[in-house]
């Protein structure tokens, strides 16, 4: 139900409206913060088995990786998806040779340097599709875990690279600030990075 959350306007509840008014309407169930949280590594300390604990870190991280913010542009086909409903991208665009679209319609034609909120248009200077081997669409957290550890399917990254990529990369970071009309992934990018780090340091076990 989370995917529809931003479309259930708090409109109908005066109480919610009042709280929104108190915060200058910034919430609205639409933007920036609050749509889901991530647990911290410490929250898993009660799991005694190191392997199970490591897998639990990844399961938690899976809330991010299987979110439409991520899977939409890690598509299973040549065509990305769009929106919280993960509908096929309109207009029809395709990966192209470099992941940045076909000659006739490049990602950057519309997705510019940053979000343009008046048009609900997401943007980032490196907006592009993940390569086919990094497709996550339709996969389970376990499958993604095995995939993300495999240098052949993760862009030849080490575990340390993954900590950096998920915890610091600004295109990845966009998923926490997707602009109005899209639900952000849970938690913060730093929290996600911490989970990757904890997972890597605990043996990178998969759920």
């Amino acid at each position: 139900m989370m995917v529809r959350e931003w479309r259930l306007p708090a409109l109908m509840m005066a109480a919610v409206l009042a709280s929104a008014a108190a915060t200058g309407f910034s919430g609205a169930g639409i933007s920036a913060t609050g749509a889901g949280t991530l647990a911290a590594p410490a929250d898993f300390a009660h799991i005694a088995d190191p392997k199970a604990r490591s897998a639990a870190y990844f399961t938690e991280l899976g809330k991010v990786l299987t979110n439409p913010r991520c899977t939409n542009c890690h598509p299973a086909t040549e065509r990305p998806r769009q929106g919280d409903e993960a509908r096929l991208h309109q207009p029809p665009v395709f990966r192209g040779l470099d992941g940045f679209g076909l000659d006739s319609m490049r990602c950057g034609s519309c997705h510019r340097r940053a979000n343009f909120d008046p048009a609900r248009m997401p943007g980032h200077e490196a907006w592009h599709l993940a390569p086919p081997e990094m497709a996550w669409e339709g996969k389970t957290v376990s499958q993604i875990c095995e995939q993300i550890k495999d240098p052949k399917r993760n862009g030849n990254r080490t575990l340390a690279d993954l900590i950096e990529h998920i915890g610091k990369d600004t295109l990845v970071g966009w998923a926490w600030h997707p602009g109005p009309g899209r639900t952000p992934v849970p938690g913060t990018q730093a929290q996600a990075g911490a989970l990757v780090e904890a997972w890597a340091e605990s043996g990178a076990a998969c759920p």
Binding site: M12, F25, I30, P91, P180
Partner: protein, 913 residues
């Protein structure tokens, strides 16, 4: 044209004569005298490829001579909730730089004496303390001095809640908008009169409703409802027969649901208004399909307002429209533009939907739920009886719901001749976005149900689908569901022969057999007969020729892409040889010379009232009607065509006789109908060819008729009148005529005799229909359910195609819209639907080029049966058979019959496993 409407407000409407040019009329008339343009193409071609200001959304105050330079902006706020009590605005979140200068809400308009035009009955704004009547109902109009403030507010309010709601009440219930029962029982033989029909007995409605609001269709004794009891008794007998079929009779009983869709014309509704309080003049720039109606509705709204809100005059300037498809016909949008202007006196104000707002507030297609029952004699393969029950979701305002219900009800047996028919229909109020006119208008829905049902009959009997249709197709002269025959050609046999002979249909088994692994192949066929016209269609037209042979045309029809301007030019050229270089459309203010008056409602007037009114030679049943209902070619060009005939017969032909030197006693004087044009040269056997230029010069020189202005009215038949002209009486399918001699002024002629179509023609469901058939082949990917249209063929008949390229283009566009309705487009009802204000393209998917068989779509236009066959409406019928043909092809491929639209890849995948 100027006329006074309610409250004495003077109305005038003009083709918007635009901007940035001192000589605007000439510049805004297309293609324009002296403007270079390709020899072939639309009259608006050059304007449209050069980005000329044409559409209502193009104009700002600075573009209008005499207006203040600055444009102000209006924002219409609508409710996304229709289940809780509305408690007012909460705009505190708006920044100081986004504050409106003025806010108009229910309490404001309550003070000024507005009247809501009957067609739009319902609160213009939801009053505080009540539950909104429907999703998307306006709650307030915000007026901004500056664009920047408007722009900030628009974005902020789109993304942030700003309406207060209180207690949950659930949605409001309202009575249904209308309920009808159409029953016909044919006589024992084809020649025998019907035992019962709507034409004979009138239309009937049930006298009772359940507490839920549903009509009670059963026969109940009711002293007031004798008419209903009589019809319903026949209807009940048909139902009984369907429930207990005779041996050898196949009965199928199926349900079908069609979805709500958006017309999705590409230009969102927009307009510009300016009220000058000094002159008490309201100027409006609008793009609608129904200019005359819009002006009348506005005048009614303000007609009894307090002085500050009652203009002395309203000048409506009507533009080219960026797509219509019905959705701009009788839309409430002009009322809100008017309010914006009246509450911002002295300041030009623009109201323009963005796409979210257009989805939230624009007119939608009715969603239908239909139950259909059909009885077929197995031995003969003929339909013995048919019954259907339609329930329409009309949304929040009545709009055209009753009319759509009637069109669907009376069109429910499509192209077939069925001796026993019983159809009930009810259009319901719901809290959904208002549904109204859209291309296909009830027929898209009922014929999708019918043609998929017929396909199932054919596979069940079994009988070849084309052969089944041959055996059951209505033939010319046979009676429709309402009991009248079509009064136009009926070309089912040719359409069926064309479909039968087409390789797509011929090769269906072979193609299926050679389907590659992982692919399902299926072929489908379907036909549609679609009414055109509304039963009160009007046409105004003027044709003038100058001494150089240059032709000007004025018409009241609206150009919404349908090519009406080009059709006018071509149809007129058929009579007077030359293509006009000045065509002006959407115009009502240049027909003053006719001095037309009207009274009453053309649909409900009695015969006695009509007969009495007709004694006034200026009276007509209606003056101007909407450009809709596929009437562009048939109605929109009628008045100009008749005007051109007058110019020829009483201007150019006498000029020809004079040049040829033919004496008055020569029999050839009366043989004008033997002459014909080759381009701009008049040919008459045995006489020297004459150029249009020479004829025009001579006509001017001898004071012949060089201009004619006419009005035509159709109630399933044209009005006919006789006028005295020099050279003889002239009888034609028009009811008003003014002529110009030489370079003089237009002078109206009193009609010597007139015959308006009888008022009981209002009982006719339709008497004009055109037909289209489609066969197509689909390929379905087993793994994904993805459907590709491999090849498609549509054959359409439309009498004389005035502009064949545009008929072809409309057919291609209709095919695309059919594909959208069948496979792509969907607006869920209520809170998840467009009324929530969060819908845009992307979520709402319409057909793109890649969804269509661009290289494998063949359209065949049947030539007219006779050179005398007039044009027939075709722009709706071409989209209809595409939808059931797709569903029938999907069945052929998958073995599954879907009973709702749209059919998505997920649904297909679900049934093929």
């Amino acid at each position: 044209m100027k006329w006074s409407a309610a409250g004495g407000i003077v109305l005038s409407l003009s083709r918007f004569a635009g901007a940035q040019t001192p000589d605007f009329l000439e510049r805004e008339t297309l293609p324009g005298r002296g403007v270079p343009h390709p020899a072939i193409g639309r009259v608006d071609g050059v304007a449209k490829v050069t980005g000329a200001k044409l559409y209502a959304s193009d104009f700002r105050a600075v573009d209008l001579p005499g207006w203040p330079a600055e444009t102000h902006h209006a924002l219409l706020l609508r409710t996304p909730d229709a289940s809780h009590v509305y408690e007012g605005l909460a705009l505190d979140g708006l920044g100081a730089d986004a504050k409106p200068a003025t806010i108009i809400a229910a309490e404001d308009i309550a003070k000024i004496g507005l009247r809501v035009p009957p067609f739009y009955t319902g609160d213009l704004f939801c009053p505080i303390g009540t539950t909104p009547l429907y999703l998307g109902q306006p709650v307030a109009l915000l007026l901004f001095d500056r664009f920047d403030a408007y722009d900030r507010a628009r974005t902020f309010l789109r993304d942030n809640p700003h309406l207060k709601f209180g207690a949950e009440t659930g949605p409001l219930t309202r009575p249904n908008y209308g309920a009808f029962r159409f029953t016909r029982v044919a006589g024992a033989t084809p020649d025998a009169p019907d035992l019962y029909s709507p034409i004979q007995e009138g239309w009937i409605s049930p006298g009772f409703v359940e507490s839920s609001g549903r009509p009670v269709w059963q026969v109940l004794p009711d002293a007031k409802g004798a008419d209903y009891v009589k019809g319903a008794t026949y209807g009940t007998a048909i139902r009984d027969e369907l429930a207990k079929p005779a041996a050898g009779t196949l009965v199928l009983d199926r349900s079908f649901a069609t979805q709500s869709i958006d017309p999705m014309f590409l230009e969102p509704e927009a307009g510009l208004g300016f009220y000058e309080p000094g002159a008490r003049k309201l100027d409006l720039v609008l793009g609608v399909q129904s200019p005359f109606e819009a002006a009348e509705a506005i005048a009614y709204m303000l007609g009894e307002a307090v002085p500050d809100f009652k203009p002395a005059s309203i000048d409506g300037k009507f533009c080219y429209v960026g797509g219509g498809f019905g959705g701009r016909d009788h839309t409430p949008f002009p009322l809100y533009l008017t309010l914006a202007a009246m509450f911002f006196p002295g300041r030009p104000v623009r109201l323009a939907h963005d796409r979210f707002q257009q989805f939230q507030g624009g007119i939608k297609r009715h969603a239908f739920k239909m139950r259909s029952q059909i009885a077929v004699d197995r031995a003969s393969g003929t339909i013995a009886a048919f019954a259907a029950d339609h329930v329409l979701d009309g949304g929040g305002l009545m709009n055209y719901s009753v009319s759509v219900a009637v069109v669907a009800g009376t069109g429910a047996i499509g192209m077939y001749n069925v001796p026993k028919v019983d159809v009930t229909t009810v259009a319901e109020h719901t809290r959904g976005v208002t549904a109204g006119s859209m291309r296909g208008y009830g027929t898209v829905q009922c014929l999708t149900a019918l043609e998929t049902l017929v396909d199932e009959v054919c596979t069940t009997l079994p009988l070849d689908p084309i052969e089944f249709r041959r055996r059951n197709a209505l033939k010319v002269g046979e009676r429709t569901l309402t009991g009248n025959p079509y009064s136009v050609s009926v070309r089912a046999p040719e359409i069926l022969d064309k479909l039968d002979g087409h390789p797509i249909w011929r090769n269906r088994a072979a193609e299926k057999a050679k389907a590659p692994a992982g692919v399902l192949v299926g072929t489908g066929v379907a036909c549609a007969a679609k009414d055109y016209g509304t039963g009160a269609d009007c046409s105004l037209g003027t044709v003038e020729i100058d001494a150089e042979g240059r032709i000007s045309i004025h018409s009241d029809a609206v150009e919404m892409g349908n090519g009406i301007g080009t059709a006018l030019a071509n149809r007129v050229a058929g009579h007077i040889g030359g293509i006009a270089d000045q065509v002006t459309v959407a115009q009502v203010d240049v027909f003053d010379a006719l001095g037309l008056v009207k009274s009453g409602d053309p649909y409900s007037i009695t015969q006695a009232e009509q007969d009495a009114a007709a004694a006034n030679p200026r009276w007509v049943p209606e003056i101007s009607s909407a450009t809709s209902a596929s009437i562009g070619a048939h109605v929109g060009t009628q008045a100009a065509s008749e005007a051109a005939r007058v110019v020829f017969r009483f201007g150019l032909w006498p000029a020809a006789l004079a040049i040829w030197g033919i004496p008055a006693a020569d029999p050839r004087v009366n043989q004008s109908d033997q002459a014909f044009w080759q381009g701009e040269t008049l040919i008459f056997s045995g006489l020297p060819p004459l150029s249009l230029k020479a004829l025009a010069a001579k006509a001017h020189q001898q004071g012949g008729v060089t201009g004619a202005m006419t009005h035509a009215f159709s109630r399933w038949a044209w009005s006919e009148a006789t006028f005295a002209l020099p050279g003889g009486d002239w009888s034609a399918d028009i009811d008003a005529l003014a002529v110009r001699r030489g370079s003089g002024a237009f002078q109206v002629l009193d009609r010597k005799a007139v015959a308006f179509p009888p008022t009981d023609y209002n009982r006719i469901g339709t008497s004009f229909a055109s037909m289209c058939g489609t066969t197509l082949r689909v390929e379905i990917e087993r793994a994904t359910g993805k459907l590709t249209i491999a090849k498609a063929y549509s054959v359409v008949e439309c009498g004389q195609a005035l502009v064949p390229e545009i008929v072809l283009g409309q057919s291609q566009g209709g095919f695309a819209m059919g594909v959208g309705q069948a496979l792509l487009e969907d607006l869920p009802p209520f809170e998840e639907g467009p009324g929530n204000g969060q819908w845009n393209l992307g979520r709402y998917v319409v057909a793109r080029a890649s969804d269509l068989p661009l290289h494998d779509l063949e359209i065949e236009i049947l030539p007219p049966l006779s050179p005398r066959e007039p044009p027939k409406g075709m722009a709706e019928v071409v989209m209809i058979p595409v939808i059931p043909a797709l569903l029938n092809a999907i069945f052929d491929a998958t073995g599954h019959r879907f009973q709702s639209l749209p059919v998505t890849p997920q649904m297909i995948k679900g049934v093929i496993g």
